[in-house]
């Protein structure tokens, strides 16, 4: 500074410099008075607000920024007397919302409590930060979602009782669950699928022959085919006793992507099915044996019985009246007993013969069949004065001989067990679902509901032989015939009295 130079009120250099520096400062700078009116604003601030200095001068900053809370904030910042920073969102007419960092320096009472402010526009920074943050959050969310998805997939994989294995297009296992690992006895990861039978002990149902890898459902699925279930017997070190697996496989959305196989342990089901089949076979065999027994027994019983009855008859023929009256009586009882036993054996033979060596089913016209049966019973029908009526009867599939016996026995009973009223028998057939329901209804003496099941048991009689002759085989034979055709037979009381014997027979 040269004091010799006479320049009127020249501003000191420092002031000029600082003015200049302040004006060109790369950040907006402000000086406010105590009322927060703008005393100075540099070019950057004018740029920031897009307002000329003239409009800024003496205007409260809060007005410029359209931020009513600003005075309080500045005031608070000044109170400590030291420099303070805070962020505030301001709204400018041109720029819109801008986030600013204000550095507030109170200049003190000897500068009339003016306030020096530098402003940093952190809008972009904050925006990019927010964008970044949003990106990060999105990424995290995606990762979380992915993790959730994986967890979900894993949970699903592990929650199923089936073994699941996913193979890539090369036939290598890339994903599997614990169940499959337990089934295979090791992690399937490194074993190409075509070596699975060898490595994991896959066998054909004979339990001996190795399962051909080309027949594995996986092989088909990897070729893009939907593979049917294959039953595989698996025996490996993990399950030395062996177990049954049903394998299904599906190609992943595109065949090039690989395939997914599911392995279901069907040992229990298979054992149960085997046991059931065995049980059924045993029952069938036992039934066959029983029938064979009944047949043989009744057949073989005939011989000695024939001797007994023949010789009793011979005795009666040769010695009646030649011994005493008691002898005649005894012989008569013996002859009668032998005859009854003969009848029982005959009936038993007849019963055990039902369905023995029957020919194939044929179409039977029930109308014609009933006509035949009625012709055979014409004499009885006439002597007992029975009225027989019937609805139209269908054609059904069955054995003529058996069906004739069925109708014959039912008609026989209906005639035999008539009441004191004139007998009326009505035969009908109704289509119900896939069945015919036949009914032979009479107005006879009826069957006590208590005995509705017993009447179908072989040799069960509800009346004395003297009142109603017969061994009690008729309805048992009917039941056997009906049941051999998957039908049901039952009795239904009629009003005011009488019995309807109903039975079902398959339609078509």
């Amino acid at each position: 500074m040269n004091k010799g130079l006479a320049i009127a009120n020249p501003p000191p250099l420092s002031a000029v410099l600082s003015q200049d520096i302040l004006h060109n400062w790369k950040e907006p700078i402000l000086v406010l008075n105590a009322e927060h009116r703008i005393q100075f604003a540099n070019q950057r601030f004018c740029n920031l607000t897009s307002l000329p200095w003239g409009q800024l001068e003496q205007t409260p900053l809060a007005e410029i920024c359209r931020t009513p809370s600003l005075p309080a904030l500045i005031h608070a910042a000044c109170r400590s007397g030291a420099r303070r920073d805070f962020q505030v969102k301001c709204t400018f007419s041109e720029l819109g919302e801008v986030t600013m960092q204000l550095h507030v320096t109170p200049l003190g009472s000897h500068h009339q409590n003016a306030i020096f402010l530098t402003v940093t526009d952190i809008t972009d920074g904050e925006r990019s930060h927010r964008i970044l943050q949003r990106k990060v959050e999105t990424a995290e969310r995606a990762e979380l979602a992915q993790r959730d998805h994986n967890d979900l997939l894993r949970s699903i994989l592990e929650s199923t009782g089936d073994g699941i294995a996913v193979l890539d297009a090369d036939g290598h296992c890339i994903l599997w669950n614990q169940v499959s690992e337990a089934m295979l006895g090791m992690k399937p990861g490194d074993i190409p699928y075509d070596q699975w039978p060898q490595h994991f002990g896959f066998y054909l149902p004979d339990k001996v022959t190795q399962f051909p890898s080309e027949d594995l459902p996986l092989s088909h699925a990897l070729k893009g085919e939907i593979a049917d279930e294959a039953e595989i017997f698996v025996r490996n070190h993990a399950r030395a006793e062996g177990f049954w697996v049903s394998m299904t496989a599906r190609p992943l959305s595109h065949s090039q992507d690989g395939a997914v196989a599911s392995l279901r342990d069907i040992t229990f089901a298979k054992l149960a099915a085997d046991a059931l089949a065995q049980h059924a076979a045993e029952i069938a065999r036992s039934n066959r044996e029983l029938e064979q027994f009944a047949y043989v027994a009744s057949h073989d019983l005939q011989e000695p019985l024939r001797m007994v009855s023949s010789y009793v008859q011979l005795l009666a023929r040769r010695y009646r009246g030649k011994l005493d009256a008691e002898a005649d009586e005894f012989i008569a009882y013996a002859a009668d007993g032998a005859k009854r036993m003969q009848q029982l054996i005959n009936d038993l033979l007849g019963y055990s013969r039902v369905g023995r060596g029957e020919a194939a089913l044929t179409v039977v016209d029930c109308e014609a069949l009933l006509a035949d049966v009625l012709t055979g019973l014409a004499e009885k029908i006439q002597s007992e004065n029975v009225r027989v009526t019937h609805d139209p009867l269908p054609k059904i599939m069955g054995h003529v001989h058996q069906l004739a016996q069925l109708f014959q026995n039912l008609m026989d009973n209906a005639i035999k067990f008539h009441s004191t009223e004139p007998a009326h028998i009505h035969i009908s057939a109704q289509a119900r679902d896939k069945k015919w329901v036949f009914s032979v209804a009479d107005n006879g003496i009826g069957i006590d509901p208590e005995y509705k099941d017993r009447v179908f048991v072989i040799f069960q009689r509800l009346h004395t032989r003297e009142a109603y002759p017969g061994t009690g085989i008729g309805l048992a034979i009917c039941k056997k015939i009906v049941e051999q055709h998957a039908g049901l037979i039952w009795v239904e009381p009629q009003q005011p009295h009488g019995t309807a014997v109903n039975f079902t027979w398959p339609r078509d």
């Binding site: 005939q302 011989e303 019985l305 024939r306 001797m307 009855s309 023949s310 010789y311 008859q313 011979l314 023929r317 003969q342």
Partner: protein, 152 residues
């Protein structure tokens, strides 16, 4: 007919059940035709009788054979087959008299050239009737070749 009144007709009954044989004998007793009944109890004996070998060397050729099917040792079917394959014996009428009513037995017997097949009736009166019918049919109605002619 006149001949049968002079000499009895000879009937061979092949039956292992003595009671049954006796019943047949009793029934034949009641018949009009004079008959002589020979009873053997198994197939071996039947063939010996017909071949007149062993204990049966003195026996004469029967006029009719009543053959049961179920016999010990050689059974009735084998006996029937051998009789019908033998040119000397095949002309003797063979009546199968059995308790079996099985279709299979009936068919098999006729295939082996049985002359008729009868299931023994259970009832004595019916049985007697059958025996009488056999007797009446084969010895009164039917003309049979004479033994000598049959041999040639």
């Amino acid at each position: 007919m006149s001949q049968s009144q002079v000499v009895p007709v000879r009937i061979l009954l092949v039956e292992d059940n003595a009671a049954d044989a006796r019943l047949t004998r009793e029934s034949l007793k009641e018949c009009k035709v004079w008959n002589e009944l020979f009873v053997v109890s198994d197939g071996e004996e039947a063939l010996q009788f017909l071949g007149r070998t062993g204990n049966f060397s003195q026996m004469l050729r029967p006029d009719l054979i009543l053959l049961d099917l179920n016999l010990p040792r050689k059974d009735g079917r084998e006996v029937l087959a051998e009789i019908k394959q033998d040119p000397e014996l095949r002309t003797i009428p063979v009546v199968i008299l059995t308790s079996s009513a099985a279709e299979r037995d009936i068919a098999q017997s006729y295939n082996l050239h049985a002359n008729c097949y009868i299931t023994k009736p259970i009832d004595l009166d019916e049985f007697s009737e059958v025996v009488r019918a056999i007797d009446g049919f084969w010895f009164s109605i039917v003309k049979l070749p004479r033994a000598a002619a049959a041999h040639s």
